[in-house]
Subunit: 199 residues, 2 copies
């Protein structure tokens, strides 16, 4: 299998960690993708041009990251990162919340990347930042119940916090001690997290 | 169950159509949500403030729309809108492509809604519009193979095209005759599509 992603992508990081936890890393070749390059095959593999994309052994392109994580779980036998019974939808909702946090953070990064200063809109950036804050507030209160579960939801949560470390200088850490402690535990339990930290 | 959504939401429309196809509409009360209102309970139900959110009978909040559609499929017995075996990941990838098309279309709408004219960025809007065009080009070539399948992928595709009808005056129709014919067939087969057309 081939994974199209970039070292900085938090959604690609989710997939790399999932593959490692499932023992599938050896079966996946990472081929870097450049979302900004119109000539990159990425835009044929996924017409909306987002990463990550997984090319399966028969050449089928799968996306986006929740679909890829579920596919890898299926390849590994199923029910390991996404439980089949009770708890499935809570795990998937936690993943959606973490992915939504990342989306709101990315839109703040894109505000700078894709616009000259005079066309940036402070109310839009604040609107996205409030989404991140509300998600962190909610997760700070909830993370004790999450505990040391290792699944698609907690992998996404770790990658969301890692993205805030990477792009927002880890300023979240001052206000969310429970999440800091939880991420420390996750990092200790899941070596792939440290190995996929963007430079 | 309670569904928080708005009449204009394409992702909420997916859920409403899925519920209808699965025979679950009678078990779901729709409670309108206003994503722009800080006092709407929505922001407690889903901290990132997106719709739709499904409140299950025990009060658990589930999101986002792919998770809700899968949950409803599970409630209805499973394997009806998302096949369990072969084809599952193609269905989920088609859904992700249609959802990605919608996301790129929504960002163009938000450019107007959330910014004064002098802070709109034409290159950003064009970047999103190109995503929509590439997705339509890809789907136009592929839709013959999709045929009359009724699943999470084709429901999402119909809602994506419906969103372009709603917010972009259906200008896509002039260039994509296969998709127009496919949507006509879908509309005829799935009464809930017409019943959920935004005003």
């Amino acid at each position: 299998m081939i994974l199209r992603t970039s070292p900085a992508s938090p959604f690609g990081r989710k997939v790399k960690i999932a593959a490692s936890v499932l023992g599938l890393s050896d079966r996946i070749e990472i081929v870097p993708a450049d979302t900004s390059d119109p000539n990159d095959d990425l835009r044929r593999q996924n017409p909306v041009g987002k990463i990550p994309v997984l090319l399966t052994e028969d050449g089928t392109a799968l996306y986006d990251s929740p679909v890829i994580v579920e596919f890898l779980d299926h390849v590994a036998g199923g029910g390991r990162l996404i439980p089949a019974g009770t708890g499935r939808f809570q795990v998937l909702t936690l993943q959606a919340l973490a992915d939504g946090l990342i989306d709101a953070a990315i839109l703040q990064v894109y505000e700078v990347r894709y616009r000259p200063e005079e066309r940036r809109e402070a109310t839009w950036v604040a609107y996205q930042a409030e989404k991140v804050t509300r998600a962190l507030d909610h997760l700070e209160a909830k993370v004790g119940a999450i505990g040391d579960a290792l699944d698609a939801g907690t992998i996404a949560l770790a990658c969301a916090l890692g993205y805030l470390d990477f792009r927002f200088q880890g300023t979240w850490r001052a206000s969310y001690p429970n999440l800091v402690a939880w991420l420390d535990g996750f990092t200790a339990r899941v070596p792939a997290y440290g190995k996929t930290t963007p430079a």
